[in-house]
Structures are given as C-alpha cells and as structure tokens.
Symmetry: C2
Subunit: 361 residues, 2 copies
C-alpha cells in the first residue's frame, strides 16, 4: 500500500487583480469567484480521494490565515501557515518541504494554487496519483503540463522531450526547457510544434528530492531550509520564519529550480485547466448571454456586448457599452476596459494613494 501523499495549496497574494471584490479583508481565496463556493474550498475539493484534509497544508499570507481557516475548517488549523511577507513560489516550495518532512521524512507532496479552475476531476486525480507514485519511486521533480488549446501569451511553456514508458494512465515526458510567457507569434509556433505544454505551476515531488535540488541549485533556499528545519515544531518557528524570510529575495520556483535541474519530468495533465488570475480569465468559467456578456448578480443590460459584470447587493445598469469589466464592491465600483484588467494593480495603488492623501487633509 502506497503511503498517503501530502498536498500544499499556495493561497498567498493580495488578489489585487480581483479588486475591488478582493481586498485585505476579503482575499480572493475566500471569494466565490467561479461559482458559489470560495476558491480555497474548490482547491481542497479537487483533492478529494487523493489527499485527505489532515494531509493538506495551506500556505498563505499571515493576515489571511483567519479567513482561510474559517473557509476550510476541515483542515487542522496548525496546517494553515502564514508567510510574514511574500517571497514568491520558490520560498513556498522550500517551506512546504520542511513542513512535509517534519511529518514524514520520505513524504511526497503535490503543490497547487488556490486560483486554478480544474475540470475532468477524475483525470486530474489519477494524474496526481500516478505522479505521486513516480515521485516516490524515482528521484525526480514532476511538473504538470497542459496541452495548449490556443496560442496563449498568458502562460509559460514547457518543451517536452522523449516520452517515458511508465505503466500508468498518465503520460510522462522528459523536459527540454521551460520558457517564459511568449509573444503571440512564438506562442503560435509553440502550438504548431505540438510538443509544447502550458506550465501549470503544479508540481509533485518528494520533500527529500526537492531539498536536494535546492541544495544543488539555489544556496539561499538551502539556507532557508536549514533554518526552518532547526525550528519546525518548536515555539520559535514563527519568529525564525520571519527572520529567514526577511533576508530572502523574491524568486519563482521556475527560475530557482525548474530552469536549472536536470531530473525534471513532465506529466501530461489531460484534464481541463485554467489559471483564473483575472476578471477576464474568470469570465471564461461563467455562462455568457447571447450578447457575450457575463453577469453575476443583479444587472440590466441594454445594447451592451462582451461585458463582465459582478454586481452584488446593488443593481448595475449598462447602456450602449462594450468590453467593460464592471465590479461592484461594498463601497467601490470599478469600471475597467477588459484589455486593461492586468493593470488593476496600478488602479489600486492610485486609490490607496488618494485615500492616504485624503486622510492627511
């Protein structure tokens, strides 16, 4: 009988791309963005039958711990860990390896995020199971690649190499390289080539293999692991975490490891997957009306096409407008051109600056 794997859900980030619905008090992970369930609940549900709640860790930012804990009470509260500051995904992976090794020195875990939308859950779950089996048997770092459906410029890509003959439903490949988000032309070339996959940011590995890779390629994270291992399970852990994170630079797991290591294997994730990182991305997962509008809540639209409306507790009335994202939050209404959704962060900064100024006056 294989040992029960662990899962670590990355639920950090300030969710500025879902402003004004998401904010410090209402992080995106606890919002019902895709359907009526908060995204963190969906992330836990995806793992049903593969990883039980008592083997799931959630790593989030410190101030979001209470909201996350309230949303997923089935996860033991000591397994919801708050980062003192955000240091990108490599630090999360290193921290996760320490948490898992403290439970099981040979533990295997998958790492997922709370803002993915996964469909075909049977396929997803068997992919995780097959990858866990491989990660337990061999000294490799497994990443999940998704066959591209469009020449998307919003994802990084993985170039797959030779197929590995594993006796499983899931197909595994050696990887040739990880590439950053391409321009449209390059993305089209990747799509045409047929052996490029979207980098989903989901990984499966044993804690031990991951730590070995950090020691080989990323000294700063090897130091982090040493510092955290010395303190995990003690009352000083939070303080040690704060001190250690304070010294770290932000670095992604792709840059820290996946672009350098040579023992990487890609699992073909043959399930439905999307990164729901923005209002327009979110709209893909909601029903559209005949004029291609997505409306959540109470709205009246006249001669308006291709808009995204989130209207809670208020009525939104649109007349003769196209390609807008209109979001009503408690005390703010945002109206944004759909092509500018990636710049909402700048808008949030300006709102913050204006509020700060107003308090001074």
């Amino acid at each position: 009988v294989p040992k029960t794997p662990y899962a670590v859900i990355m639920a950090g980030g300030r969710g500025e791309r879902f402003w004004p619905l998401s904010n410090a008090r209402h992080p995106k992970q606890v919002l019902p963005l895709i359907d009526d369930r908060p995204m963190i609940i969906m992330a836990v549900d995806y793992l049903q039958g593969v990883v039980p709640p008592d083997h799931i860790f959630v790593i989030t930012s410190q101030d979001l711990v209470p909201a996350i804990a309230a949303a997923v009470p089935q996860i033991p509260s000591e397994q919801i860990i708050g980062e003192p500051v955000g240091r990108d995904t490599a630090a999360v992976c290193a921290l996760a390896s320490v948490l898992v090794r403290a439970r099981d020195p040979d533990g295997v875990f998958c790492i997922l995020t709370a803002d993915h939308r996964i469909t075909d859950l049977d396929v997803f779950r068997s992919t995780i199971r097959d990858a866990v089996t491989l990660a337990a048997a061999e000294n490799c770092l497994i990443t999940i690649g998704i066959r591209p459906l469009t020449p998307s410029t919003g994802f990084g890509y993985i170039e797959a190499g030779v197929s590995l003959d594993r006796n499983s439903g899931t197909r595994f490949f050696r990887t040739r390289r990880f590439v950053e988000k391409p321009n449209r032309e390059t993305a089209q070339a990747y799509l045409d080539a047929g052996n490029f996959y979207w980098n989903s940011g989901m990984f499966i590995w044993s804690a031990k293999t991951l730590q070995t890779a950090f020691r080989q390629h990323t000294p700063s994270l090897a130091r982090l692991i040493d510092e955290l291992e010395a303190a995990v399970g003690t009352v000083t852990f939070t303080q040690v975490l704060a001190t250690a994170y304070d010294k770290l630079k932000r670095i992604s797991i792709d840059y820290a490891l996946m672009e350098k290591a040579d023992n990487i294997v890609m699992a073909h994730g043959a399930f439905g997957w999307d990164d729901v990182g923005s209002w327009p991305a979110l709209a893909h997962h909601r029903p559209h009306d005949t004029a291609d509008n997505v409306v959540v809540g109470d709205a009246v639209l006249l001669d308006s096409q291709r808009n995204i409306v989130f209207s809670k507790a208020r009525v939104t009335a649109l007349l003769g407008v196209q390609n807008l994202v209109v979001v009503q939050a408690d005390d703010v209404t945002m109206v944004c051109h759909i092509d500018r959704a990636q710049d909402i962060k700048k808008l949030v900064q300006q709102v913050g600056a204006q509020e700060a100024l107003r308090r001074l006056l």
Copy 2:
C-alpha cells in the same frame, strides 16, 4: 409704477434622463445637479429682483409637490400646484393663466422651466423686465430666443423677422416661424443665416392675451381654461383639474400656439443659457480635468478620458475607459455610453420591467 409680474416655473417630468440619481423619490428638480443647490432653488434665484417669491407659482407633478415645497419654503405652499398627469406644456400654460388671472385679471407672467442653466443674470433679469413691460402694454405673446453658438440639433429654432423699435435694452423681433429640432445640415444653415435663434421655451405674456390666443387657436385648451376658471379658489379645484386633465391630449405650447398665432414677438435673450436636460448637457456646466473628464464626488481615474462621473457616497474607479457616463445612486450604478444618454429612458423601462418580474417570481 408697473405692477409686479408673476412667474410660473414648470417643474414637471419624471427626470428619467437623470436616472439613476433622479427617480420618483428624488426628482431632478430637487437634485444639486449643476452645483450644490437643487435646480428648483436656482430657478427661483434667477428671478430675484424681478419676481418675489409670493408671485411665483410652481407647476409640477402631483407626487413631487412635497419635495418641491420642502426645497423652496419661501414660496407659499398653495402656489405649488401638482398636475394629476402630465399633458405637456400647453396645458401648463393654460393652467398658469388661470392661476395668475385669479390673482390679477390683468396679470402678466413669465413661464420658465426648472432645468435651465442661466448665466449673466443681470441681462436675464432686464430681459424679463423689458418683456413684461411690453406684454403689459401690447397684446402679444413673447418668446425668448437665444443666439445659437453651435449648429445644435438638440433645440427647436425661431426665425426672427423685422426688428421692433422699442426703447429698451432688450431687442425684440417679429417672428417668421418656429421650426422643430433640425438635422445637422439644417442647423448649420440656420447658424449661417444669422437670424435663427434657439427656442428657449421661456415665454412672457399677460394671462388675458394668452387665453385669447387659446380661444382662437386651440379649442381643447380654451375648454380647459373655462373649466378651471369656474373652480379656481374653491375646494373642488383639485377634482376639477383631475377630471379636465384626464380628457386632454398631450400637446406642446409650440404646437398648440406658437406655430399658429400671429401676434408673437421674440425677445433676444443675450444671456448665457443652456437646457440642462441630460448628463452630457449637465457636464458642460461642471469643471473638466486635463483629460476632459467631469467628476462630481469621489472617483479615481487612470488612463481614462472624456467621462462623466457622479459618485456620491461611493468611490468610482475607472481604468482605461472613454466617453462613459457613470452615475452612482443609492442602490444602482449606471454605466452608459455618452452618445446613448438620450436612451436612458429605455434603460429605466427595462430596469422597471425586470424589477416587476422579480416581484412576481
């Protein structure tokens, strides 16, 4: 010493063009649309030094009487008259003539609306004074024409004829004809011709002359006058008004009288004037930022141009949008393309239909 004239302010209409700020509970006349004062207060102030409050009547719709009375307490409450239904401007003028004659059989009055913006008030007031003097001396119907500044297609026009030699600061003309709102080409021709004026919808006449004209040209309104004169000042007036209005067809004063009568004189109104009948028209009277946005209230704009924002009690945040009217009311936010503002009435109907449907379900 000339007798003190009367004024009748038309303050009817449901103000749908200022929805969602204006609605049944908050008619446009009591909203601070142009500056911090409700429009009805501004309309009364325009008359300062010409018509005292106890000579001012306000004719509005029945359900708006309390709100109007609260806004202009200096006007005796019995002089704020509610119409049981709207029957357009000819009926208002006929009703006004009855109210004024009951106070003074030879009374002269001007009729104005509550949604005009007037500047150069000294010129406005002397124009009214000169017109009152003329209307008291001669059996004529006086209309005020405004020299067009642009080839506007939003106003009717008056073609001026020969100048009348009156010893006053105000210039008076015979009129050749009244024409309806023209298309752009015709409006340009009017502007070029030099003797076409905007039909401001402001009139000055004696009650007696007006009634004579109705008797001559518009039998239905002559009947209305007879029915109201028999009841004015009695307890049955409200009931008689309701019964008489019920039988009336909607007809404008232009169509009922001004296009037919031959004793019409046009006063050149050499003051600043605009019909503030819509959000875009209103924006002309508010300061613009460097990106040509008009913002009233609390808003943050990033890379956004030529928008009109009315944001009370909420924050409006715009990103990368142009030519929108965004209005935040108590429980509704409207987002409308600026070129579609004339269709807000249709949007209100759709909101109403949807609400009615919701109540049924």
